[in-house]
């Protein structure tokens, strides 16, 4: 089994097509939509947790690429600007997945990209605005 959190960018021409449905039907993959929207430029953006057998997963990814869907791992999306972060920790109770936690020794805030689901709750509540979204 493989399970990955990925960001999919759908070009304009694909926004109306049932692509994720095919991932389930043809490749037997499971998905959990973490976030989805259509941007003003009419690009579709979807954050998915995708899981299934290794060969099915790879075939599914190939299928997405062949359709023209751009992919990137989720971890690239929410980035902490280390220069701006003051390590106060006000983001910690807001984060729903414990991707932001206080290190008991250093009292600094640790950000674990792998746990981040890109909900972006931390972005606007960060006082020095150190959490940045990069798509």
């Amino acid at each position: 089994m493989v399970s990955k959190r990925i960001v999919l960018h759908f070009p304009h021409r694909l926004v109306n097509q049932p692509i994720v449905f095919k991932l389930v039907k043809e490749y037997d993959l499971q998905f959990n939509i973490l976030k989805a929207f259509v941007t003003p430029e009419e690009e579709g953006l979807m954050v998915l947790e995708l899981s299934g057998k290794r060969d099915n997963f790879d075939k599914g990814v190939e299928y997405l690429k062949s359709c023209g869907v751009k992919m990137q791992p989720l971890s690239q999306d929410v980035v902490r600007n280390e220069e701006k972060c003051t390590n106060c920790g006000v983001c910690v109770p807001i984060c729903p997945t414990e991707a932001l936690v206080v290190d008991k020794e250093t009292r600094k805030v640790k950000f674990d990209n792998k746990k981040c689901i890109a909900c972006e709750l931390c972005v606007k509540i960060c006082p020095p605005r150190a959490m940045e979204v990069h798509f």
Binding site: T86, N87, C88, I94, K124, I125, P127
Partner: protein, 404 residues
Amino acid sequence: MKTIKEINDKIKKGEVVVVTAEEVIDLVQKKGVKKVAQEVDVVTCGTFGPMCSSGAYFNVGHSKPRIKIGGGTCKLNDVPCYTGFAAVDIYLGATALPDDDPRNKVYPGEFKYGGAHVIQELVSGKDIRLEATAYGTDCYPRRKLDTLINIKDMNEAVLFNIRNSYQNYNVAVNLSDKPIYTYMGMLKPNLGNANYCSAGQLSPLLKDPHYRTIGIGTKIFLGGGIGYVAWHGTQHNPSLPRKENGIPQAPAGTVAVIGDLKQMNKDWLVGTSMLGYGATLIVGIGLPIPVLDEDVLRRAAVGDKDIYAQVVDYSVNYPNCVPGSLGEVNYAELKSGKIIIREREVLTGNLSSYSKAREICEELKSWIKKGDFTLSEPVAPLPKADSGYSFKMLKERPVLKKEE
């Protein structure tokens, strides 16, 4: 037992013993108050939290021909300054916003850029746009000014915070069923989180709870440079109930601080945006406590588990000035990441960076050890717990209209 003069002599000779407000706690537990009071000369404290009553005044220099900004208008990077002074003296407050900022019209407002951000950019050495209008006089004929200006070209640039370093603060929660956006951060509904704002056992006024060594004229670390305690801060409220160790159980003492902004550093003055609330400035402050005797040391060695704060509802009680605490917690509990309120586990977040406060304690310690920073004798005390000085609410009175 020791005087500030004796400690300063030790600093000059390079023989001074300095420990941080954190180190002193363990040291006293191991060796006892008596021994440590003999060995240690100075305890360094620090805090790095947002303070809205921050600001700076500037003398921008006279233009040719002269302009009298006093009584006119002035903006720095679009953020309005106070101009009710002489020709080219202005004051910029941390929470000031550009006139066209939507504020909370689109709720919750983002407040991405305000006076605090201008102060941080000035300190960073960036050029800032200065725009001014004036009514014109015989001696100050100019009506308009629009120029770039840099902090190094100003005559004076002085940080002057009329309130800072709160001695203790509330723990903010939300009992309502909607999220609220406060100066204590975003509070999730139904006790979704509990935010606090203090460096606890590192915070200056918690380590000298009766203001025995801190007074007017005390030299401090301010924003990475040197500053002074100018006065007691606004809303100074020393007469609150205190625990046996002398520490107030709610927000109490404050100090007003002043220092040369030109010497300060962007790492210790950070412009911030509180969602739905406004712009504010995080200010790094460090304060040395001279270990004059065992009593000073005993109080400086109090740890987080003996410092208590009140849990306050910010959905109804705080905005409507309804007194009442949902309970008392100590800073060790707050720092553990969760506290119990109404039999529920609530996650905690700090607005005041403990790790940065720790860095300030270390930085000030190194300044003193190197002999770069000597201690000053306060010239007057702050109003103390028995002074009768206290914080008053506004009494509103009807305004009688004069008959035409």
